[in-house]
Subunit: 895 residues, 2 copies
């Protein structure tokens, strides 16, 4: 490694964020802009990785580079590191590429020892300040570098405070602080067996190493896993000359935001303390003062600070989160960064900054994280009420935050009972070990869903997210007893059917009792921003919707069509399932057709209602997709029933009935149903099913056309892997469509197309496109097949382990795998267009509502994305950001 | 379609096989070579498809083209179609691109009617012959064109024979034949409501249409599905001027082979009948005479025929299967084609032809179908066991040794029942009076075929030899009663459906009961041909072998290493399974390690034995691959046990035990295990399992190295989809390997590599290759994932339907799908080599033993194929053919 490892602040700039970290890059930029930043240096993030790869050894030459840079800092400050006359003191802080607030360690006042302490005293004429600084340094160094429990230092301090009879640290006099220093040194000797290291350069080296090592402490690793941050990024180390907010009442220190990060209001916002060091503000020992008081206490300095803050906000075009210190009447800026904010604040700030002329619309669109929009659409628990519930011991378990939102209702275990009670207007929480498609009718009317098993992509989680319904999944500490209809938590407390519980789907918390909620207020900012997004974006956003209610919600949230209408959900409805079962169990094609004839009017009404609610926007209807056994009773339950009846021998008639059913269910069951008889394979095996569906689609479309509507049905044939599957199915079904249109005497504007969800279809898309007027990428299945991951199994069995070890950085079912699945998409697009240049291209997997994936879809040239109604705003904003980022070349194809 | 549809024989040549069919092309070639071929014309295969696509309508202008060509035939023969004075009579026969013997319909004597009959009589001065020809024509035309049951004609014929008191057709006099003609015409009128069409041109058009239609009759479709022949090929129609073998005792007709098709011996071989038409020879009504008798009966003609035959054999460089007719002392050749032959004959013929200087080695290698070699490796009856059976009176009859091999199974008479029982895994012997093309679906899945009538060239014999299936034909001493489903032998012993019998197709013996079998002895021809193959081929052939026995068999059959040693088979052994289960059920890593420690010595011995038997050839060991629940008791059985124990309530201790086991098994069970926790996912989740395996591999290799061997283990990590999986696993396991080598104090020459069996691994092979020294294509799984087909489910649920409808032409699990799976392989090779130019490339899926797939592997540049030991000779020969065909550019990449 001959790369430059150490940069002075004035040598860097804001483009060097990857090497200098966010903090270091901003310090460099402020320094070069002439702002009052204490001089210092930054050790690069690459050096951190070098240190770790080196087996936690300092790279040769690094200390020399640091020393050399330090000489420059000494020159600028006129102080000298380790000097007794005029000692330079340093802060040592981490600073990663992406902000990881509070994850890393900080050390202040480094360079102090028994000698330089004297220099500090004579320099400041302030014994108390010097000893206060020394004792702070000793405890921070002892804790962070020497790994001594911080409580041990607190104990020693408390002892002295007690003996002096004082409450606050600030009330300790110099003598008391001397005692603390002595006690701390003794503690260090006791715990490490060695004296506290007096040599400043040794202190510095140890502190730098401590920051490097802190990159891999468990809480940092966990944080990165949660936010999908690469473990190979490393952290930079910022070594900065100290300024002191604790030099008396003409000194102060504080933090501030240029706007309110909670609601976005444009008022200067923050807190400070006089005569304090930074840690005091956040530690909560002394209550800090609101920043507005500074205007009264030190009006000139306040004005100077606000001026700088506004300058920085304009410069960075975003709300700033800053740290400052006033040392004996002189203002220093220690840090600035973009401020974290709530979704509501993000919207308001973005729109306000545009209106204030600070940013343009494009920049405003980039200031909001699309994922945040989701939470704005859902009611949430009143935070105070939730806090109280926790304090009152009402929190009974925590599971996975599978689908956000707040839900309160009675514990109900049986889906049918849930549906019945909901019909009566009761609010219920459907609680199951895990859900299956059979439970849908109970999930739909429930306030929320709670399961004991299953991951973030389990049936319950996926369906609930699709419905925008709160869900806590995989709550493994709960024992759900379906027979007794009870839930027991880890502490052994049991709750019965009918008791009221509350779910926070955004946190995974489960409470007993009701908690007050607040409704979302979608202000003008929300509409304004999405209006801008629509002006900018290229991608059309459609919704996945299976019912007229879904379709209306989708329209309300800005969808321009339905990209996926799953007909199987129509088959699951209570009044149809028995007919569907009759159809499946039919011994002959004749009997099957009879049952299908009964289903036809249902499907006709379904389609008519959906087409109507979409008001002439295109609707893509996917023909029946899942394996048939999903509509039948559970195989294992049936087996258990049969065995029981057999052993008991008291009901031969029922036994025979159940045995016959079991035989049929066994016949239909498969080793790997995900790769079995489903999709077009089903349609090619039992053509009459799809024929009935197409008949219903076209009857509905024709009748509406007669009523004056211009319905545009798009028939989507799923799970095609070979062109001949599509060819055969389309020929058969298009002839039915034509037959219906001729019967009805009208023509409708229709298309036939296919999902691209089997790798082979992508690889042979040139052939497939001969018979497909559109491709819709089914990236859920495509991800399954490309990785060979069964979604139902992978998360529970190994995917969590994979993401924790960063074998995979992201769960490919949440964020599209661009290298593998994305490569297949690109192949499919290229080949598809080679056959049919104007082929319509879309996506209807769940990735259609994931911001990163939407951006990829924009990049590779899809025409539309389709996602669940509640994710439509996310997709709209992401699509706009995609265009802007592409213009700025931020997004590059990886291959 | 302005393409030429009709060709005179002299206008065609042998390169036009695709258009003229095999028969038509050969007739053209013989005509142009000046051989005595009756003149005629061929309607192209494309015309057949045109007819079918036209909704079974004759394309406009086709009849005109036929008439025009017919004028030419009239000129050459000096006869006139429809003339009363000198009538031209025609045969109309199908002839597809690939030989489909007996699948299609034939009509002889076309052009006869009440008027031309008179002409024939005056021309030949032979009333009896003329009426005999007429009645033959009427029954063939009635059966084939008018779709009247052939038995109806037989009944009318039998009635006349009875009334005249004669047994053989040839004993019927002219008067009797007149009665037959009258009865046949009445039958046609009765069945069709119309008179028999007297107009010759109408007869011809109807006959041509009948041949076109016969392309799609069920038995033809079934045959093509079995042999993977494209349904779009179509059949040509050959219209040829008739010559008559039934013009008296100076006339004859017969079929012959230039060599014995059963054992390959170089003697002229065949059968004929005097005063007969072609159908009589194969119909089995009169028993034909061996061709050698013709040398006595008509020595000059015999010599002329043999001379032509030998000329044709040299010309076509292959054994010829010919048809001839002698009309009043003049020889005509009606057909020649490459003869179907047994594997043994194929080998001998290829080697003999080379030795006789007729062909070179390359041509010899191409004369043997690699798949046929398999049957040579199959066991035959133990001679002692057979002797004993004879002594014990178990020999119930002896027929013709129509197709060699040993078969044991239950007597089944109905082809459909045979197919159904075979599907269930039962072994059946299809037993018929004689077989016809309608029986094919029952022959395919039978162990062997037994017929009471028919010669060595009967339908049963020809088809069985083509399939490599044992067959005893013409077993005339057996009385087969299809109605009662019994067989009675000469001694009056009767055997019923379901009884076990054994056939020796090499001797013609039929036994009651099962007979022990022995392994085959491979002769010099086998070794000679494969020696030539090894000289020519480029691909290395390895074997898939899990035991020392397999490994030894592999070496014996010419394998040059093991390409896939599946360690899970070692875990399944009786003495290990309990330990494996203990390992799986272990609650802690500690307990798991304890069980693994017990497995280590087993694995050590396994590897040592295999390495030893491979004697320094490379051995690729695949680490544990299947999901763990495969080693545990069946989930459903366990559930049934638990429910039963619960209901009975009489054994609480056992219940508790079983409940605990059930819980564990449930925990491990997956929705789609094929895409679940297996392969490297298992290794990364429970690293200690693979560590134990690698320890065992390297302990064994090191110890053998110390004994002077040079073992070359190749560790293969399965189911990699992302480079990080391989990286993590390899780093962990290679360190174990190094540890063992350092413990043992020796180094072995090892490699680490991976299977490419997940689409994503192929798509990102450039990354994967950074950590893989070799790629082995696991095309079984790769096919599953690329198609999204679960192999366990697809065949039973929909794949048969797919291949029957030719949605897929071939089962992709048998023959590699070049367009999809093959495309991924090519991507993987290109990308893998871009990172590691010398990466070793192989295949270890079952495709490694499939001839077509091996040729593809050669084409795309693999280094080796690996297949089951018994398929090693197939792979060796296929690999040689691949090189030759590539030189001849017969094989082209599809994309």
């Amino acid at each position: 490694m001959s790369q430059k490892r150490v940069y002075l602040f004035r040598e860097g700039n804001s483009d060097m964020r990857n090497s200098l970290g966010g903090k270091g890059a901003n310090l460099a930029e402020m320094t070069n802009a002439g702002l009052p930043v204490p001089p210092g240096l930054t050790i690069t993030t690459e050096t951190c990785i070098e240190y770790i790869d080196n087996g936690n050894e300092m790279p040769a030459g690094l200390m020399d580079s640091i020393k050399k840079a330090l000489e420059d800092v000494e020159k600028e400050t006129g102080k000298k590191f380790g000097s007794v006359d005029n000692p330079l003191l340093l802060s040592v802080r981490s600073g990663a590429r992406l902000s990881m607030p509070g994850m890393m360690e900080t050390i202040l006042n480094l360079g102090l020892n028994d000698d330089t302490l004297k220099g500090l005293i004579s320099l400041t004429n302030n014994d108390r300040f010097a000893y206060d600084s020394y004792r702070r340094f000793l405890s921070m160094f002892g804790g962070v570098v020497l790994d001594i429990d911080k409580d041990e230092f607190e104990h020693r301090l408390d002892k002295v405070k007690k003996s002096k009879g004082v409450d606050l640290d600030t009330d300790l006099d110099t003598e008391a602080l001397k005692e603390v220093v002595t006690a701390y040194k003794a503690l260090i000797k006791e715990k490490t067996g060695k004296d506290f290291p007096q040599d400043p350069m040794t202190q510095l080296q140890l502190a730098v190493e401590a920051v490097f090592k802190s990159w891999n402490i468990p809480r940092a690793v966990a944080y990165r896993n949660h936010y999908k941050i690469d473990h190979r990024y490393g952290t930079a180390v910022n070594v900065q000359s100290m300024v002191f907010g604790n030099m008396g009442n003409d000194s102060a220190t504080g933090v501030s935001f240029t706007r309110n990060p909670s609601d976005g209001e444009n008022i200067f916002y923050g807190e400070y303390l006089t005569n304090a060091q930074g840690e005091d503000v956040v530690a909560g020992i002394r209550t800090p003062k609101p920043i507005s008081e500074l205007a009264v206490e030190m009006p000139a300095l306040y004005k100077e600070y606000v001026d700088i803050a506004q300058k920085l906000e304009r410069h960075y075009q975003d709300i700033q989160d800053m740290e400052f210190t006033i040392e004996r009447g002189k203002l220093y800026i220690l840090q600035t960064r973009s401020g974290k904010r709530t979704a509501k604040a993000a919207l308001k700030i973005a729109v306000d900054l545009e209106k204030e002329g600070i940013i343009n619309k494009e920049k405003a669109l980039q200031l909001v994280d699309p994922s945040q929009l989701y939470q704005l659409l859902l009611p949430s628990f009143d935070l105070k009420a939730k806090d109280k519930a926790v304090k009152d011991g009402k929190l009974l378990a925590t599971g996975l935050n599978a689908s956000p939102g707040a839900a309160t209702g009675m514990l109900i275990f049986d889906p049918t009972e849930a549906a019945e009670r909901a019909e009566k207007g009761e609010k219920v929480i459907l609680t199951r070990i895990e859900t299956c498609p059979d439970d849908i009718h109970g999930m739909i009317p429930s306030q929320g869903v709670l399961t004991a098993r299953g991951g973030m992509t389990s049936h319950a989680a996926v369906v609930a997210r699709g419905m925008g319904k709160p869900c806590v999944a995989g709550c493994e500490s709960l024992k759900v007893d379906l027979a007794k209809e009870t839930v027991t938590n880890a502490e052994g407390k049991t709750f019965k059917k009918g008791e009221i519980i509350s779910l926070d789907g955004g946190t995974g918390e489960v409470f007993v009792g009701a908690i007050a909620t607040v409704d979302p207020e979608l202000g003008g900012d929300f509409d304004q921003l999405l209006e801008w997004a629509d002006e900018v974006k290229r991608l059309v956003v459609r919704a996945n919707a299976d019912t007229p209610e879904d379709a209306e919600k989708a329209i309300e949230l800005g969808a321009k069509g339905i990209g996926l209408c799953r007909t199987e959900h129509m088959f699951m409805a209570q009044d149809r399932l028995p007919v569907v079962q009759q159809m499946i169990l039919a011994g002959t094609a004749e009997a099957r057709k009879e049952a299908l004839a009964k289903l036809l009017p249902f499907q006709y009404e379904d389609f008519k209602a959906i087409f109507k609610s979409m008001n002439d926007l295109p609707v893509t209807v996917r023909l029946l997709d899942p394996p048939l056994h999903e509509f039948l009773p559970n195989h294992e339950e049936l087996l258990a029933e049969v065995v029981e009846l057999r052993v008991k021998g008291n009901n031969p008639k029922l036994l025979k009935e159940k045995e016959e059913l079991l035989e049929k269910v066994s016949e239909l069951s498969e080793s790997n149903p995900m790769m079995g008889l489903r999709g077009c394979r089903l349609g090619l095996t039992y053509p009459e099913i799809n024929e009935m569906q197409v008949r219903a689609i076209f009857q509905a479309a024709c009748d509406l056309k007669k009523e004056g509507m211009d319905v545009k049905p798009e028939v989507m044939i799923p799970l095609v892997g070979h062109v001949n599957e599509l060819k055969t199915a389309r020929e058969q079904l298009e002839s039915v469509a034509k037959e219906v249109m001729s019967e009805k005497g009208v023509d409708v504007d229709y298309q036939f197309g296919t999902m691209i969800e089997i790798p082979r279809a992508a690889l042979t898309a040139d052939e497939v496109a001969e018979y497909a007027q559109f491709f819709s990428f089914g990236t859920n299945d495509l991800t399954q097949m490309t990785f060979g991951f069964s979604r139902d199994d992978a998360e529970a069995k190994f995917l969590t382990n994979y993401t924790e070890k960063q074998i995979l950085l992201e769960n490919p079912f949440e964020t599209l795998d661009q290298d593998g699945v994305g490569q297949l998409m690109k192949i499919a697009i290229e080949k598809g267009q080679s056959t049919r240049p104007n082929i319509k291209l879309g996506i209807c997997g769940e990735h259609g509502g994931d911001p990163k994936s939407v951006k990829f879809c924009n990049l590779i040239g899809l025409n539309y994305v389709s996602c669940s109604p509640f994710r439509v705003p996310i997709a709209r904003l992401s699509a706009a950001q995609a265009v802007i980022e592409q213009q700025e070349k931020k997004v590059l194809l990886t291959k």
